[in-house]
């Protein structure tokens, strides 16, 4: 389900998030505004511990926020019930994390089928689509293997296949190449670029300046605030 290019699909305003553990309060987001249009490839950069992951979690709805609004496709996701928000994620989003988070007891193919199963896609179709997806990420011959039998790069490709197989409108990627060597990382980024060119929006957190430069936009996060939002640049981050 892809939107025409350039249409706004996410609009976040004045988002704040403070972590509290006991007496300790960590303000991780202190009033963040961000828009994502379809076809965007936003790279999020910033020093460690400044709120990048928090931003991704809060915008995607896998974490709660303290104040502000996040509209996706016109719906305020933090006003929804958890069930609806979850459903929303299943239909519209894909996630890729630094650690691949594959289900260790399922084969590569079965891992990719999981999000389709959640959407209620028939078994036969799911298998077909998973196979196609694995072929696209270059793992057609490894689909029967369990995650433990794959290299880190291969596991991440399975994770990407899993994130892409439902053709989500937004793909959230939190340091997807953080665990990989630069060559393998390059292949992963190429994959993301490819889907982005096909019209899916990508928001990717990265520490890699080279990767930071490839997006259509770059966002710099510092101390829980967005300090830069514009054309890709790596000036003044670190």
């Amino acid at each position: 389900m892809m939107e025409p290019m350039g249409q706004n699909i996410l609009r976040a305003r004045e988002v704040t998030k403070t972590y509290r553990s006991g007496k300790l309060e960590v303000p991780a987001l202190r009033g963040v505004d961000l828009d994502i249009d379809s076809g965007d490839l936003i790279t999020v950069m910033g020093p460690s511990g400044n709120g990048k992951t928090t931003l991704l979690n809060c915008l995607s709805g896998i974490d709660t926020i303290d104040s502000g609004t996040v509209h996706i496709d016109g719906d305020e996701i933090h006003a929804m019930r958890d069930g609806a928000r979850t459903q929303h994620r299943a239909e519209r989003m894909g996630f890729i994390f630094q650690s691949f988070n594959l289900i260790p007891v399922l084969s590569a193919e079965e891992n990719v089928e999981v999000p389709l199963g959640i959407l209620g896609v028939s078994n036969k179709e799911a298998r077909q689509r998973a196979q196609d997806m694995l072929e696209r990420v270059g793992l057609a011959d490894r689909r029967q293997n369990r995650p433990r039998e794959l290299s880190g790069g291969e596991q991440q490709r399975v994770a990407i296949a899993r994130a892409l197989v439902t053709q989500p409108a937004i793909i959230w990627a939190d340091e997807p190449t953080g665990n990989l060597d630069s060559e393998t990382a390059g292949a992963i980024i190429d994959l993301l670029l490819e889907v982005n060119e096909a019209g899916q929006s990508v928001l990717m957190v990265t520490h890699d300046r080279g990767i930071g430069a490839i997006g259509t936009r770059t966002v710099h996060v510092r101390d829980g605030l967005i300090t830069y939002d514009g054309a890709p640049t790596t000036d003044g981050i670190h």
Binding site: I62, N101, V105, V114, P115, G117, N123, A126
Partner: protein, 953 residues
Amino acid sequence: MVTVLAAIAVLLTLPALVDLIRRPDLRRVGLRNIVRRPGEAALVVLGSALGTAIIAAAFIVGDTFDRSIRDIARTELGPVDQVVRVTNVDDLDDALVAIEGPGTIAGVDGVLAITSIGAALSNADATNAEPSLRISAVDMDAARSFGADPSITALADVPAPGLDEIVINTDTRAELDVEIGDLVAVYAYGERIDLELIALMPSEGLGGFSDAYIDPALLDSVAAEPPLGAEPPSALVLVSNDGGVFDSTEDPRNVRRIETATGDRLRAAGIDHDQSPQKLDILRDAEEEGDELTQIFSVVGGFSVVAGILLLVNLFVMLAEERKPTMGVLRAIGWRQGTLVRSFGLEGAIYAIIAAAVGALGGIGVGWAVVKLTQDIFATSGNDFSLILAVEPISLLQAALTGLVISLLAIWVTSWRISRLNIIRAIRDLPEPVTARGQLLLSVGGLVLAVVGVALLIGPGLGGKSVIPALAGPALMILGAGLLLKRWVRNDLLAVAAGSAVVLWGAFWAQILPKDVTTDVELPTFLVLGIILVAGGTAIATVIGPWMRRLLDLGSRPATAARLGLAYPVARTFRTALSLAMFSLIIFSLTFISVMSSTLGGQDDDIVTEISAGRDMMVDANSANPIATGDLTDLPGVASASPIIRAVPRWSADFDAESIEDPDRWRLSGIDPGFGNTGAPQLELRADRFATDAEAFEAVATDPTLVVVPSWFLAAGSDGVEVNLQDRVTMYTASGFTQEMTVIGVVQNDFTFAGPWVSADLVREQMPGGFRITRHYVTATADTSADDLAEAIDAAFVTNGASAETFRHRVGRFLSQELGFFRLLRGYLALGLVIGIAGLGVTLVRAVRERRREIGMLRSMGFPTGGVRSMFLTEAAFIGFLGIVSGAALGLLTARQLISGSDALDEPLPFVFPTSALVLVVLLPLIGAVVAAIVPAIRAARLRPSEALRLAD
């Protein structure tokens, strides 16, 4: 036993204790792990504590029975160690003189002559009566000073009753509700005598040996001419050995020596007599009965204990897996493998010690409950034997040590196993690959197991005719062969093949092994059998999982949850197998007991028909005051009454070598021609020449050389001895007459304690002074209910000590006692169920933590909370279901084999399918399994995705 256990326990705890003191780093890691998750630590402790509690309770039940039966020595014997029955009352004084002799027998501190009759007592207006009491006459002065310690005779303050006076014990007073000064009526030999109650004595010592004392002259006059068929007074000489109540028989050889010396003196004086070392017998019985109950409860509890071990191992394996990366890091920074083992061992030892202590204490509670329930069972079946809870510190210690040793063994072995890891792979959480060396080890292990199996089978099994090694040997052989073949054969096929082979062996061993090996089947055999069957069943069940998972490939949303729920247990074969086996074992034992009890319970109609001989009830009476048959038939409602003559000659049989050397006393039933006209007890075996059971009984009534015996007559029924048609038995009377007889029929259930059935004429002729007509088989008229008639007979013949009981009531009473016992065992087993369910709960709580990251990911991908919940519920239901189904199936199979297929039971019973019990046995645990999963499932569903992902990284 205790010292050996203690030594092992010390050996196993010592390293942990040393580390606790000397290695602060290990102590910190170990303690921190416990404190960090107190809830789970508590559950681990609970799991192994229950095992210990079960062992402790088994000991307590045994101790309680031992103590309660031993107490009979105090309440009914006191100083009395040996009872000598002098055949002829007139010889009593001579016997006393003979035993006292010129010098006392060494080790004897008292000899007392006493005369007793059986009689009924009532209060003055006969509203309260006790039908069957022992009334004695004794020289009160001699009695008071009988034995070394007058306080244990209980007669110290009792005056000698005069000619119209009586002394009774406190138990009897309570029944009659009389006070000192009241009149008490004594019924003996058809007379009523009213006597004044002048004193009470405690119901212990001689005050328990006899319920009442009267003047010797009075007893002589009452018993001057006992009517035909009534029992004359018994003349007894009581012998007290040195010592008090319990220490006088400490050395059985001494008791035997005194017995022999007494006998020698009597024989020298030419006095006909009978001796019995009563106290030794009671104390022996107590010990045997106590040990037997300890064994029953230990074995039944053994299922739960084994389940507890499986749980412990499972938890430790999970613990290790969870901590694998941490352990890898510790290894990397310089911990040796041994250090890891010790850090685990330390943590485990702390769990084990706490569990042993808690378990032993908890065992008191469980033991108390079991004793309480047992008492209730006895009470409802009209048995007033009272249990005295006995908690022996040594038993508690033994239980605690047993629990401790079992847990520590499990802990050290698992710790050693899990600490063998490759550092890099552990840090990166990669599986340990199968190395060539591992392969080789596995094959060697398989070979060793197979060899041990063969050795067990051939050596102690077939060679030593011992059933447990014969049973376990082949199972080990199959297991060993399975391990050997693992290299070459597909693992799932191998599991199914080896599992099926084991199950088949477990089902048909009784038919395959030679008979002389299977005859000594005892309770522990079933524990071993259960473990073997469950191991086989589990091997098969672990393979069923993947197939089930394939069936579920439907692609709908609930199916996704179900698939994921199945994926984990299916992939983690070892853990799943442990959980499955744990459940399966418990369900196996529950099912087995249920079948046994329903089969037994379904028996009552058959047994009533079997024993009733076409009548409604049996009426027993006091031997000193039997009911005249005519009086009975005169009672309204009585259609017919057949007298049965009772006597107690000695017997030998050609199938019982021991009885030929030393014939046994056994009470007989004598019948007159015509007894069979109304019907006869059902015969299990009957000589071919008789067309009906009644014909066989008629033959017995008319021909003194024929006899019908119960299936457990003399030694039959033990050690594989069976009584058969055409066997020869011999009856010996006190006067020296012997009669050889041929067995023409065998009675299955002798619920009436009829003993051998012979011709009444024979008894009348050969034992003129020795028989009594104390029993009648009675039929009620068509318009009278049997129960009402029984009550009417009791009331009408109270002074004869009448006790009328319908056959149906009697069978119900006997069975209810056994069924109650089975219920009790089932309750005891249900404790294991608690282990199983709690175990599953802990396993799942741990699983939730272990899979946090995956749960977070699933939730991110839009997997709903309900899906996460049902994922875990499915997992629990799956393990529960497989475990229950395999356990129940194996339990049914075994019980069926035992009941109708093998010779292990004396008698083949019709197999009764325990429908309602089985529904419970299957449903309750299944619900329990799902309930146990609810908390972890809800916890998993509540995890916030971002949180779950972050924590895991």
